[in-house]
Amino acid sequence: MEFGLSEEQTLLQDSVSRFLKDNVTLDAVREVAAGDTSDANIWRGLADLGIAGLIIPEAQGGVGLGMLEAVVVSEALGYHIAPSPFISSAIVAPTVLLAAGHTDKLGDIAAGNLRVGVAFSEAIGARLDAGVHISDDALTGKLLFAFDAHADAYLVNGPNREIFWVDASTTGLTRRSLTTIDKTRTICELQFNKANAVPISEDAEVMQAGIDAGRMVQAADSLGAAQAMLDQAVAYAMQRKQFNRVIASFQAVKHLCAEMASQLEPCRSLVWYGGHALSEQTADARLTVCHANAHLSEVAQFVAKTSTEVHGGMGFTDLVGLHYWFKRIGANRQLLGSPEAVREEAARLQNLID
């Protein structure tokens, strides 16, 4: 029995972390956040490490690893709040395309030459003022909160959980960037006016597989981001002095840090198991994904608030940049389903709702 990461998985996480530490400094994040540069260089570097094709089979040009490796990488990306289209292009899109049997684009995705965004929001929580209708394989309407404003193509949901492929350059598609609190990643609105779309799947299970995979790496992203916030809180408390002593020696501060650590540390095991369960398609995989996603939303939110408080006034400023982690966690909480909605799905999976 071995519950935990293998040597290879630890090495993978270390190598991604090393790349991020060198290339995704807080200054680099600030540049992307300010719009001075895009995340293209970071994604190129990650793709060269194999991250864009992490879960794509070797036969299709990928690395052929599983969802446990995906959560391990995602945790590192969250720790460094890396600007990248990892969730959409490296996880949700390949999962959907593989499940639907559309393998022709996977090689380009794996190489990092094709970025695929995802617009499934209406399938998860439809808004009255959004949605598309279909006639003759052309879409009309709009979809909100699509992942990745810089994607080359999008997987989008139809009115009945069908999935279509739409090239970003298709006539009739207008893309509008939507500003959110989280400037480490881009979100957009897609407006369709008889835009050509290629049917990918009519099977609701295919979309579910994509959403599950996305939620799982999103939970890992929050785990990493929250761990970074805890580490920064402890480090700050160890050097900040008040009343002639470091504030880390006050129980009021220590207990806040202990509460963060106590809630966060068990999450690591839950996230690892969720990745493993998805890889192995265990009977409890979907339930575990729901719980991991919702639970990490809650714990990461607590850590985001508490770490900011431990930093005192400095935590509230732009100077230390802690807010980038705070906002990444805040965005993860809502995208792909709020924790309340995801817990309702978990209840449904256990037949707790008639």
């Binding site: 935990g4 402890v234 129980q251 202990a258 650590a261 690591r268 198991y273 719980h291 991991a292």
Partner: protein
């Protein structure tokens, strides 16, 4: 990630299942006391077959198996699944026996271990005092040497099972001049020694789960000490950590949570099944996610133990704090889903689950406090887990 125990253990699991199937009828009846013949005979059967005191050497009355974490886990899993009686527990078995094996003299091992595991000697633990709770090392019950005997005076509190115990293992101050951690000794003595008075301490549940124990000139043979004079703190600490995690096992929390689900399906308020109320349902699901995290945390700890990994220190430290608080919240939900029925207690005819929801709700508040309070746990986690400094000591005024 490999969550199976491997094929070599399948045969062992079969063996355990066969034992359970063939011995289910020999279990003592519910409520059979620890001194009853059927309970003692069951205990002997368990030990003889390696399902209790498994790794205690044969010379001291145990089964004498090599330590094997997976086999122990399989036994626990199968006994739990079949709801089999697992034999005697208590502080003599869980705490004193490991101490004696590690630090006792040969004659102490001979004298006590076999009788303890077979239930001939029931022990209580004399640690906490009215003035020494979180700051246990400041205890003042003193033992002074008079010839070949210790003479003990003082008071202990929170002493569970003292009223039915034959012996006590007790921390006493033997070197009043030494720094507080170095002046304590670990003594063993009989509870029927003249000068000992046990008073039951009724707690908020209405039961007397604990006692106060008073010592007035209690005379104890000099050699009934474990470790050296002044080493009692180290002796006690060798096993304190062991007690903490075991106060809040996540599997038991999940069992209780499943009990809440059953309640929510059965209970109706204003014509609506509670499970159909989205507010209660969300509370339930939130708790379920938290228990799951603790179950996988537990699995990680087990795996680290098997594979001798050392990177799970923090994961182990949080179990008592999170586990007891979580359990208290689960019991609270069990009460809340019943509404006013939830306040039923004792002989109320509308009682659900034999009154266990209110009882456990209060009992786990006791466990949040006992075994190192949540606040002490947070000190330990921040200092030993996160490397934060201790609170500076305040100079005692006028001392």
């Amino acid at each position: 990630m490999d969550l199976s125990y491997g094929p070599t253990f399948d045969a062992f699991r079969e063996e355990v299942r066969t034992f359970i199937a063939t011995h289910k009828d020999q279990q003592p009846k519910h409520g059979a006391g620890p001194k009853s013949e059927e309970a003692r005979s069951w205990q002997a059967t368990l030990i003889k077959n390696g399902y209790h005191s498994r790794t205690i050497p044969k010379a001291y009355g145990g089964f004498g198996a090599e330590p094997d974490i997976i086999k122990s886990r399989i036994i626990a899993e199968e006994f739990s699944a079949a709801q089999m009686n697992t034999g005697f527990s208590g502080q003599g078995i869980s705490m004193l026996t490991p101490v004696l094996l590690e630090m006792g003299t040969e004659s102490q091992k001979q004298q006590f271990i076999e009788k303890t595991i077979h239930g001939d000697i029931i022990w209580c633990q004399g640690y906490s005092e009215p003035g020494a709770g979180s700051d246990l090392a400041s205890l003042t019950t003193k033992a002074e040497l008079d010839g070949d005997e210790w003479v003990i005076n003082g008071q202990k509190i929170w002493t569970s099972t003292a009223h039915i115990s034959d012996w006590i293992f007790c921390l006493v101050r033997t070197e009043p001049e030494a720094p507080k951690h170095q002046g304590i000794s670990f003594l063993l003595f009989k509870m029927d020694t003249p000068g000992i008075e046990v008073r039951p301490l009724v707690d908020m549940t209405g039961s007397a789960n604990f006692n106060e124990v008073f010592f007035t000139d209690v005379r104890v043979p000099k050699d009934q000490i474990v470790g050296q004079r002044g080493q009692g703190w180290q002796v006690a600490n060798a096993i304190l950590g062991h007690e903490r995690g075991s106060l809040a096992p996540p599997d038991a929390a999940m069992t209780r949570l499943n009990g809440v689900i059953r309640l929510m399906r059965e209970e109706t308020v204003a014509g609506e099944r509670v499970i159909d109320n989205p507010i209660f349902r969300d509370r339930l699901l939130k708790l379920q996610g938290r228990v799951l995290a603790m179950q996988y945390n537990d699995m990680r700890l087990l795996s680290a133990k098997i594979n001798k990994q050392t990177d799970t220190q923090l994961a182990g430290m949080v179990v008592k704090l999170i586990g007891t608080e979580l359990r208290h919240e689960i019991e609270c939900l069990g009460i809340d889903v019943m509404g006013e029925i939830g306040i039923s207690y004792e002989d109320n005819p509308y009682l659900r689950g034999n009154g266990s929801w209110q009882y456990q709700y209060m009992y786990f508040l006791g466990l949040i406090i006992g075994g190192g309070t949540s606040q002490i746990q947070k000190n330990i986690i921040s200092e030993r887990g996160l490397g934060m400094p201790k609170e500076p000591k305040i100079a005692t005024v006028g001392a």
